[in-house]
């Protein structure tokens, strides 16, 4: 007997065995084709949500020289009082334009005293020193202050993103289970995305014998939970940042929103956090109507540690 004969012998396998195997494969392919666009859309939304806050916090590029330098250069050129007045005008104009640029980002300029002292030492002229001091105070935060400002900005943006909390308190919540995360090698650029993976489909699970007990045990889902098709949705949070946590979310008739927090420090590996969410009866969840909102923390210790996130039902 050779391998070809053995292969032909396998044609005698029970009909049900063959049909089940092939039908399961075909169905899974169809599911993949259907879910791929949804996954791609989620990926785009997730990436946008991750990148957009960073873009908003970027300070505009300032091409003109700092006010103090302009003043100093003018002082070197001439010591006459009239020249000093002209310098004052120049520096003041510069200061106004820079303050305007800062205001566009929604931040408040913070005075920097150290810079002022340095300039004062080098320029003994009291009139010019005053002018420079004023302009510096309005316009030129130090690096340290920039960090503080960015932190404030991010917190402000974070607060604005969490304003989706409904006016009226709702006590009804959606059951959520989180499996222990696993890790994979990190890509060059750290990722942050949350994607819909699949539904629990009783028929398919039985056909393919995905070990229900094992999966439920991994997630901590009660075995006696009553599942009708498409009522248990699996998600995966893929994060290249530290302290990634699912902090909560909201489910309405229109969409499911998950809130995810993480610190801005990239991780050495990508963390995958599998999440299972029980969609209550009466709510129709489709992958297209799912999005994630991200909250970035500059301070890793400030990231909330939520072990049992609550997804609120908004009726």
């Amino acid at each position: 007997m050779n391998t070809i004969e053995l292969s032909e012998l396998l044609n005698g396998l029970p009909d049900e065995m063959i049909v089940t195997a092939v039908r399961g494969a075909s169905r899974r392919r169809i599911m993949l084709i259907r879910t791929l666009p949804a996954i791609a859309a989620c990926l785009v939304i997730g990436l946008t949500a991750a990148i957009y806050p960073k873009l908003r916090t970027q300070t505009p590029e300032i091409t003109e020289p700092p006010a103090a330098i302009v003043t100093t250069a003018a002082t070197v050129q001439s010591t006459a009082e009239t020249t000093a007045e002209a310098t004052a005008v120049t520096s003041h104009t510069t200061a106004v334009s820079r303050t305007t640029a800062r205001s566009a980002t929604g931040t408040t300029a913070i005075p920097v005293l150290t810079e002022t002292v340095a300039v004062t030492d080098s320029e003994p002229d009291p009139v010019q020193t005053d002018i420079r001091t004023e302009s510096r105070q309005e316009t030129e935060p130090s690096t340290e202050t920039s960090a503080v400002t960015e932190s404030v900005q991010q917190q402000e943006i974070s607060e604005s993103t969490t304003l989706t909390i409904p006016d009226e308190p709702h006590t009804e919540t959606v059951p959520v289970w989180i499996r222990s995360s696993f890790f994979q090698n990190s890509s060059t650029n750290p990722l942050m995305t949350c994607r819909f993976e699949r539904f629990w489909d009783n028929e398919i699970e039985e056909e393919t014998a995905f070990d229900k007990e094992r999966i439920f045990a991994e997630y901590g889902i009660p075995e006696d939970i009553e599942l009708t098709d498409y009522r248990l949705a699996f998600f995966g949070i893929l994060s290249g940042y530290r302290n990634t946590t699912l902090t909560g979310g909201e489910l309405s008739e229109d969409e499911l929103v998950l809130h995810i927090s993480y610190s801005e420090e990239p991780s050495y590996v990508n963390e995958i956090i599998p999440v299972a969410i029980r969609i209550p009866e009466g709510y129709t969840f489709t992958p297209e109507n799912f999005r994630a909102e991200y909250q970035v923390y500059t301070d890793a210790d400030a990231v909330p540690k939520v072990e049992s996130p609550t997804i609120t039902i908004i009726s």
């Binding site: 396998l10 396998l13 092939v22 899974r28 014998a209």
Partner: protein, 177 residues
């Protein structure tokens, strides 16, 4: 409908089982066009076979017909260049389960061997069983199986290797190897 010689039967069959048949044929032949031709040939063969044939499971009957036609087509296409392709690779793996290369089995021994393989497969979890059938009956690639079952290719290979080894031990215990 086939028994009544209603030509609509071909259209209905293609609509209902076309995707399944194309999956089987494509895995063997590796080409959508060949798979489509194979499906058409299978429909013609079934049209000629029913009646008098009365298959218990029409879907399985159709799939087996498609598989046989695809295998014949594959053999014809690769008669000159041996080796390569999924079919050759899968057949090579199956050699572990051969009683003996020189041994010519009687019809009774063939039936016993098939029954033992069936018994063993029925005792496996459905996922492993489907993996085995998809690979050695349908000649699916490791990549396809990995995508379909949410596994890594390496895991699929290891799982199939374990199934073969345990099946080999089982067949040996049954006195068939």
């Amino acid at each position: 409908m086939f028994n009544n010689r209603d030509e609509q039967a071909l259209k209905v069959t293609a609509e209902r089982y076309g995707a399944l048949c194309r999956t089987v044929a494509r895995d063997i032949l590796g080409s959508d066009e060949d798979a489509e031709e194979c499906l058409n040939d299978a429909l013609l063969q079934i049209w000629n076979a029913i009646p008098p044939a009365k298959p218990d499971n029409f879907c399985a009957y159709l799939l087996k017909t498609v598989r046989n036609l695809a295998l014949n087509r594959y053999k014809a296409a690769h008669r000159t260049k041996r080796g390569g392709g999924q079919q050759a690779a899968a057949l090579d793996e199956l050699s572990e389960l051969l009683p003996s290369a020189e041994n010519v089995l009687s019809e009774l021994e063939r039936r016993e061997l098939l029954a033992a393989i069936t018994r063993y497969l029925q005792g496996l979890p459905a996922k492993k069983r489907n993996l085995f059938v998809r690979r050695y009956w349908g000649f699916a690639t490791f990549a396809e199986l990995a995508a379909e079952y949410g596994m890594r290719e390496n895991n699929v290979q290891v799982t199939l290797s374990q199934i073969r080894k345990k099946m080999q031990a089982y067949l040996r215990k049954e006195g068939l190897l």
